[in-house]
């Protein structure tokens, strides 16, 4: 359920190079473009694109990432879902299949993991992917 990343500061690392944190793989994710970032909330909105012969780059969805430099609590997952909802409305006309949500945190409260497991099982949407980071 929770995958490990060997990095020190996920937000800084991702801002520098989207592929450097071992979250994305160019062979699978194609071309990634950082379209929005919020240093306060430590969120990134990344656009996925592929090359179409006739029309150049075409959008194939988004990643929405939040980096949390502490333990991810119930309050933080609530906030994350609120931010995700905003992005889905603004960028994808309410279609949750267009946006893949990712959280990178130091640790997760058990209740958060339990909630995310239930959410991923019951909501027919892109699942929320959880990562922890450590040196």
């Amino acid at each position: 359920m929770v995958k490990k990343l060997s990095i020190l500061d996920p937000y800084k690392t991702l801002c520098k190079d989207l592929y450097s944190a071992d979250i994305f793989d160019q062979a699978i994710d194609g071309l990634l473009f950082l379209v929005e970032k919020d240093d306060g909330e430590q969120t990134l909105l990344i656009e996925k694109k592929f090359v179409n012969n006739s029309e150049g780059y075409l959008n194939s969805g988004y990643y929405f990432i939040q980096c949390i430099n502490s333990v991810c609590s119930d309050e933080q997952i609530k906030k994350f879902r609120g931010l995700l909802e905003k992005v889905v409305k603004q960028k994808a006309k309410g279609n949750y299949m267009e946006v893949e949500p990712i959280i990178v945190a130091q640790k997760y409260d058990d209740s958060v993991i339990e909630f995310v497991e239930q959410y991923n099982k019951m909501q027919k949407r892109k699942p929320i992917q959880l990562f922890i980071y450590e040196e």
Binding site: G94, Q118, Y119, Q123, K124
Partner: protein, 348 residues
């Protein structure tokens, strides 16, 4: 007030129109050539479709022509809410069409009825294509969709659009002779349709019928749970292409006067995680429809059943506590001993 569209054969329309009475059949002729009554579940579906009807509701008729395309006629209003009466009215060797209501020309648009104004059904389908009619995908009987003769449509936009087309085509699509109306009255045999809602807790359509009735009556216990409701419909298409229906859709206003839509999924017995997952999926699909303003409208999901899996209650509570993306209402129903009524209680 609500609005309905009722299908009827061309032969029966002549009598219905003159006498101001509509009846729904209780059986059909099977492949063996013999007449058979519908199953209890199907009969409850007929009651379910009719029983939410109130005096003063608008009615259009979908007249199935013997030759050529079918037509939509109107506009009428209900003068006597649904009842059961086995007195013979129509000339059919087998069927007495006992699930009935009485109607009369809509007073403001009496001229449309007096000359039997109508539109070709293809014009109505054009409204579906344009998403101006959004609660229906078709009026035809399709393989995978329950056959229905009475459909509730949205009283606001959908009824208005249909009425607009009747006016648009009035000059061309009206009969020359004035219709002779000779409305009949209720007979002594007539019994309110509500009395025929039975076996609650045994059949899904039975509990749905009770809900439709109570919504029509603005039942205080349901209003307490759902809040004020201005319109409601059953078997509403979640999206035209999916061919999936939500059981009941209630429409009201939220506290800040934006639209509030409550999608209700009804289960006869236990509500499982699979049922909750389906409801959540319907909520997501419905939000993407043109009629919904995703930035301001409120979409609420409601599961109605006798029992709930503990995970359903647990996840709904946690999700509601986050207050993101519309809440989930879990409503438990308890049938009375006779199976003729039920009480409703909000769990979350």
């Amino acid at each position: 007030m609500g609005a309905f569209i009722c299908s009827i054969s061309e032969r029966d329309w002549e009598i219905s129109r003159a006498k101001g009475i509509y009846g729904n059949k209780i059986g059909n002729i099977g492949q063996s050539g013999k007449y058979r009554k519908f199953s209890a579940q199907t009969q409850f579906s007929i009651i379910r479709d009719l029983v939410g009807m109130q005096k003063g509701d608008k009615v259009f008729f979908h007249v199935l022509a013997n030759d050529g395309p079918s037509r939509i006629h109107g506009i009428y209003i209900v003068r006597e809410p649904p009842f059961y009466d086995a007195t013979r009215i129509w000339k059919d060797s087998y069927e007495i069409f006992p699930y009935r209501f009485l109607f009369e020309p809509y007073p403001k648009y009496r001229y449309l009825c007096e000359y039997d104004a109508n539109i070709e059904v293809v014009e109505f389908y054009e409204l579906i294509e344009q998403r101006k009619i959004w609660s229906l995908a078709t009026l035809e009987n399709e393989m995978n969709i329950e056959a229905r003769s009475v459909r509730k449509i949205e009283d606001g936009g959908e009824a208005k659009e249909t009425l607009r087309l009747l006016h648009r085509d009035y000059r061309m699509r009206r009969q020359e002779q004035k219709v002779n109306f000779s409305p009949i009255s209720l007979t002594r045999n007539a019994r309110p349709l509500r009395e025929f809602i039975k076996d609650i807790g045994r059949f899904e359509n039975s509990i749905k019928a009770l809900l439709m009735y109570k919504l029509g009556q603005k039942d205080p216990a349901l209003v307490e749970i759902l809040g004020p409701i201005s319109d409601f419909m059953n078997e509403v298409f979640i999206a035209q292409t999916t061919r999936k229906c939500m059981d009941i859709l209630c429409i009201g206003n939220s506290e800040n006067q934006n639209k509030k839509y409550i999608i209700c999924e009804v289960k006869t017995d236990r509500c499982t995680t699979k049922d909750l997952s389906q409801l959540l999926f319907y909520m997501d699909l419905f939000k993407r429809r043109e009629i919904v303003n995703i930035h301001s409208d409120l979409i609420i999901g409601s599961l109605i059943g006798k029992k709930f899996d503990s995970e359903v209650i647990d996840f709904s509570r946690k999700r509601n506590a986050q207050n993101v993306n519309g809440s989930i209402l879990l409503i438990e129903y308890t049938p009375n001993e006779q199976g003729t009524d039920a009480s409703f209680r909000r769990i979350t």
